[in-house]
C-alpha cells in the first residue's frame, strides 16, 4: 500500500487549540507512501466526509488515515465514508489526537510532536492493513429471557407479540418476581397484583412463549444469532401435564409450618406448595428439604389425595437444549439483609441496629407483605413479635445504600419513594398511628414522584427527620431508636413499636455465576454492565445479549418496564434480518505452518478452535491442524500471542501491522 491519505481534523478548536494541525498534516505528507494530506475543521461533518471521498478519487488513495478523535467515537463514520469512496472500510484507520493528545496536554509543542508520532504510527498500520470482508452468520429467530419478574415478563411479551418464539426461564416455582410481592405501587397506589397477575396469565397463555419455571440456566454456548442454551428443569415432584391445580395436596400436607419465602418468612406454607395463590403456573412443587417423604420416606399423603396422580416422588432434574438467537437477562434484585451477610462479602453489616435479633425490626419488602391484602396478616399492619398494631413506626432510609464505609456506595433509587408510600399505607390503615422517617436526602426524580413524596410529608403526616440512626435496642416491648436530627442539631430518641429498614437493593444471588456462563461483564457489586452507559444502555458488550431491569442496577417499575421493552426492541431489530454481519476481526490459521499443538485451543475462551484433518488424495491423514470457526471467534487474539509456531493470525491486528507500528516509534 503506497498511496495513503492523511486527514487531520481540527475538531473545531478541540484539537487545533493545542496541536498545530497544519504542521501535523505537513509532517504526515512527508512520510513515505503518503500521497495526500490535509487538515480540515470538522472531518466528521458532511463536507469533511465529502473531502475524504473526493481525495480518495482524485489522488487514487488506497488507504486512509483520519487523525481526529477516538476511534470509539467515529471509526464507523469514516469507515463508511471510505467505503462509499470505493475503499475497503478496513483500510481506513483513525489516529486519536484528541482524547489521547490535545485534551490531555497543554504544551503546544509537545502535543504537536506527540500528534505527529501518533500519525506516524498509524500510517504504518494503514500501510500494512488488509481488505477484510464482513462475516455473515444466520440468525435463529427465537429469544431466551432469563428471569420471570416484571422485566422478563414484559420483554417476553413484547418479543412474542412481534411474532417470535420466546423461551422464558424462571428459577422459582412461579413467575411474578418481586412485583407480585408488593402491596401497592408508587406514585399511583395501584394494586401491584392487579396489574401484575393478568400479565403473568398472558405469558402462560401466549402461543409464542414457552414457559419454564423452577428451571435454571446450566450452560450457554454459541454466539449472537446462534446460542445453544442448556436449561436445567429442577424436579418439581409434580407432573405439570397431569396437575389440575386443585390444591388438595397442599391442604392435606401434614407439614404446614414452613416459613413462606414469598411472605418474607412471616407466613407459613406446607411442604408441597405454590408460592402464592395467584401463582403462574398454578402447579405445586415439593420442597424436598422439608418434605417428610423425602426426609424419612414415610408420608406420601399428597400422592394419595391427588386425583389425577400427578405427584411423582421419583422425578429427576432434566436438561433441555434450546436454540436461540438472542438472550435477555432480567434476573432482578434482592434486598440487602444484614443478618444474612454472604460469606466472604466485603459488605459490612449493621450490628448496631439489631436486625435479625429484634423481631420487630423488618425490611421494606416484609412491610409490603404486611400491607398486602394477600399477605400473612390479610393486609392488617401487625407487628411480627406479638401481632399487635404498632402505633409508632420508625422508617430508616439508606440502610446499606450510599454507605461507602459499609461497602455499598450506590443509591438504591427506589427506597425514598417506597418509604413515602409505606408511611401513607400505614397512615391509611392505622389512623391514630405515627410514622417517623430518618432520612439523609429525599431523591424523587420521576413523573409524579416529588408530588407523591410531598404528599406523604405534608398531607399524610409522616414526620421526616433529617439524620441517621446510630443504635437501636429493645426496651420492654418497644424498640428504642437513637438517632440525630441534623437540622435542629439534637439527638433524637423514639420508642417505636415497629422499625422498617429501607435496605439496599443488590443483584440476585448467583448473578456473577450466571454472568460467567453468559460471558457478560459485571461490576464489583455483581450488577451487569451495559455496553455503553449512555448510548447502549440495554446491550451487553457481548453481542446478542441484552439487559432488562434491576439486574443492571437499582430501578423502579416504570424504568424496568421501559428497559424491558427496549431490550425486546433490540431483539426484534436483530431478528429483522435473516443473516447477520459481524466484524471480520477474527483469527485465521496458516495450515501450512500449523503443527497441530492446539495450544490455541486451550486458551480460546470461546471454544472457536476446532481440529481439522488434512488428508492427501488417497484419503490418508497427513496432519491435524487448528481451524478457527469465524462465527464463534471473538477476536481477542490470545491464540495468536500463544501460538509457538506463529501460524495463527488475527485479522486487523497482524504481527506485521504491530511490528510496523513499533518500528515507527
Amino acid at each position: 500500500m503506497s498511496r495513503i491519505g492523511v486527514f487531520v481534523c481540527h475538531c473545531g478548536e478541540n484539537i487545533s487549540r493545542t496541536v498545530d494541525v497544519e504542521q501535523v498534516a505537513k509532517a504526515a505528507g512527508e512520510i513515505p507512501g503518503v500521497a495526500y494530506s490535509c487538515d480540515y475543521k470538522y472531518m466528521c461533518s458532511d463536507p469533511g466526509q465529502t473531502l475524504l471521498k473526493k481525495a480518495v478519487a482524485e489522488h487514487k488513495l488506497d488507504g486512509v488515515l483520519v487523525a481526529a478523535c477516538s476511534p470509539r467515537m467515529h471509526e464507523k463514520t469514516f469507515r463508511k465514508a471510505a467505503e462509499a469512496a470505493g475503499l475497503n472500510p478496513y483500510l481506513c484507520e483513525m489516529a486519536n489526537i484528541r482524547e489521547h493528545c490535545s485534551w490531555v496536554h497543554e504544551d503546544r509543542d509537545m502535543a504537536t510532536a506527540k500528534a505527529k508520532d501518533i500519525v506516524k504510527l498509524m500510517v504504518e498500520r494503514v500501510r500494512k492493513g488488509k481488505s477484510l470482508a464482513p462475516i455473515t452468520v444466520p440468525v435463529t429467530k427465537r429469544a431466551l429471557v432469563i428471569g420471570g419478574g416484571i422485566a422478563g415478563i414484559q420483554a417476553a411479551l413484547d418479543v412474542a407479540d412481534a411474532g417470535h418464539q420466546v423461551v422464558l426461564v424462571e428459577r422459582d416455582p412461579s413467575i411474578g418476581g418481586h412485583m407480585a410481592q408488593l402491596s401497592e405501587t408508587f406514585p399511583t397506589l395501584d394494586c401491584s397484583q392487579c396489574i401484575m397477575t393478568p400479565k403473568m396469565v398472558d405469558v402462560a397463555n401466549h402461543p409464542n412463549i414457552t414457559l419454564y419455571t423452577y428451571s435454571e440456566i446450566e450452560k450457554v454456548d454459541g454466539y449472537i444469532g446462534n446460542f445453544q442454551v442448556t436449561v436445567k428443569h429442577k424436579a418439581r415432584s409434580v407432573d405439570e401435564s397431569k396437575c389440575t391445580g386443585c390444591g388438595v395436596c397442599m391442604t392435606k400436607c401434614p407439614k404446614k409450618k414452613i416459613p413462606n419465602e414469598f411472605d418474607q418468612g412471616h407466613g407459613m406454607r406446607p411442604a408441597i406448595y405454590v408460592p402464592f395463590p395467584q401463582a403462574v403456573p398454578n402447579t405445586p412443587v415439593i420442597d424436598r428439604e422439608n418434605c417428610t417423604m423425602f426426609q424419612s420416606g414415610k408420608c406420601g399423603v399428597c400422592a394419595k389425595v391427588c386425583g389425577p396422580g400427578a405427584v411423582d416422588y421419583e422425578q429427576k432434574d432434566t436438561l433441555t437444549v434450546e436454540d436461540v438467537g438472542a438472550i435477555v437477562v432480567a434476573t432482578g434484585f434482592k434486598l440487602y439483609t444484614i443478618d444474612r451477610k454472604p460469606e466472604g462479602s466485603p459488605i459490612q453489616g449493621y450490628g448496631e441496629f439489631g436486625y435479625g435479633t429484634i423481631p420487630d425490626i423488618i425490611d421494606g419488602m416484609t412491610f409490603e407483605r404486611l400491607a398486602s391484602a394477600s399477605g400473612p396478616t390479610g393486609g392488617k399492619i401487625l407487628r411480627p413479635s406479638d401481632g399487635k398494631e404498632p402505633k409508632q413506626v420508625v422508617f430508616i432510609q439508606c440502610v446499606g445504600s450510599r454507605a461507602r464505609e459499609k461497602g455499598i456506595s450506590y443509591c438504591s433509587k427506589v427506597c425514598c419513594m417506597y418509604t413515602a408510600k409505606h408511611t401513607m399505607l400505614y397512615h391509611h390503615k392505622v389512623h391514630d398511628g405515627q410514622a417517623y422517617v430518618f432520612f439523609m436526602d429525599a431523591r424523587t426524580p420521576g413523573k409524579g414522584y416529588d408530588e407523591f413524596w410531598r404528599r406523604a410529608v405534608e398531607e399524610e403526616e409522616a414526620v421526616y427527620i433529617r439524620g441517621m440512626v446510630s443504635r437501636m435496642y429493645q426496651r420492654g416491648d418497644k424498640i428504642v431508636v437513637m438517632g440525630s436530627d441534623i437540622q435542629v442539631g439534637t439527638q433524637v430518641e423514639i420508642e417505636a413499636d415497629l422499625v422498617v429498614l429501607a435496605t439496599a437493593v443488590q443483584p440476585q444471588d448467583g448473578a456473577d455465576l450466571l454472568a460467567q456462563k453468559l460471558g457478560i461483564s459485571y461490576d464489583k457489586y455483581n450488577f451487569y454492565s451495559e455496553a455503553h452507559a449512555k448510548l447502549k444502555p440495554v446491550e451487553c458488550a457481548t453481542a446478542g445479549i441484552y439487559l432488562a431491569g434491576a439486574c443492571q442496577g437499582p430501578k423502579d417499575i416504570p424504568d424496568t418496564v421501559s428497559q424491558a421493552s427496549a431490550a425486546a426492541a433490540k431483539v426484534m431489530t436483530l431478528f429483522a434480518k435473516d443473516k447477520l454481519e459481524r466484524d471480520p476481526v477474527v483469527a485465521k490459521v496458516n495450515e501450512k505452518y500449523c503443527v497441530g499443538c492446539f495450544a490455541c485451543k486451550k486458551v480460546c475462551a470461546y471454544g472457536a478452535i476446532e481440529e481439522k484433518e488434512i488428508r492427501d488424495r488417497q484419503g490418508n491423514l497427513v496432519k491435524k491442524v487448528a481451524y478457527v470457526n469465524p462465527g464463534v471467534c471473538g477476536g481477542c487474539g490470545t491464540c495468536q500471542a500463544t501460538c509457538p509456531s506463529k501460524s495463527i493470525e488475527l485479522d486487523g491486528y497482524t504481527d506485521e501491522q504491530i511490528m510496523a507500528m513499533i518500528e515507527a516509534l
Partner: protein, 177 residues
C-alpha cells in the same frame, strides 16, 4: 489536575500496549475529562491484552522505548472473558525472563485500568514516566543493537573500532532496518 510543564533534560519514550475495551476507553475518559498527564506516552491499541506477544515489548525496548506499559481490563472484567488472565500469566513469566537478561523491571509496568478509571490512567502514566525519567535512557538494548552490527562482520578481519564510523557501514546498517 494540571501537570506542570517543565522541560526536562531527558524525555523518556513510553509505549503503552493497551486493550480496546478497558484501558483505551479509560484513556479516552481521561481525555474527555481533560485530565493532564505527561505527553511521553504513545498508545498502541490491541483488541485484548491477551493479543500482546512479549516479543512486541522486546522490540519496543529495542527500538528505543525507555519504558513500556501493558494495561487491560481488571480480572473478571475482560471483554473476551479470559484474555487478561492469559496476559497476566504470560507477563509473570516474561518479567522473570527480562529480569534474567538484565532489564530493569522498573521499566515495564503491568496494570489494570478500566473504562471508568480515567484518573487511574493518568496516575499510572505519570508515575511510570517520572520513574523512567529518573532511571535515564534505556541502555541495554541500544547497546545490543550495536552488537548486532558487530556480528555482521564476525569472522572478518576488519578493524572493529574504526568500522563503526564508516559511512558505508552506516548505510548498510540503516538498510537492515
Amino acid at each position: 489536575m494540571h501537570a506542570e510543564h517543565i522541560k526536562h533534560d531527558f524525555e523518556p519514550k513510553i509505549v503503552a500496549f493497551v486493550c480496546t475495551w478497558c484501558t483505551y476507553a479509560g484513556a479516552d475518559l481521561a481525555g474527555t475529562s481533560r485530565m493532564q498527564y505527561p505527553s511521553n506516552v504513545r498508545v498502541l491499541k490491541f483488541p485484548c491484552t491477551g493479543r500482546i506477544d512479549p516479543v512486541f515489548i522486546l522490540r519496543a525496548f529495542q527500538k528505543g522505548a525507555d519504558g513500556v506499559l501493558v494495561s487491560g481490563c481488571h480480572p473478571g472484567d475482560c471483554h473476551y472473558m479470559a484474555g487478561n488472565f492469559h496476559a497476566r500469566r504470560r507477563f509473570a513469566a516474561f518479567r522473570a525472563l527480562l529480569n534474567f537478561v538484565g532489564v530493569d523491571l522498573n521499566r515495564l509496568q503491568f496494570s489494570w485500568v478500566s473504562a471508568a478509571e480515567g484518573g487511574k490512567w493518568v496516575d499510572v502514566v505519570t508515575e511510570l514516566t517520572e520513574r523512567v525519567r529518573t532511571m535515564g535512557p534505556m541502555p541495554e538494548f541500544k547497546e545490543l543493537e550495536h552488537e548486532e552490527q558487530w556480528s555482521t562482520f564476525a569472522g572478518t578481519s576488519v578493524d572493529k573500532s574504526t568500522v563503526l564510523n564508516s559511512p558505508e557501514l552506516k548505510e548498510a546498517y540503516d538498510s537492515i532496518g
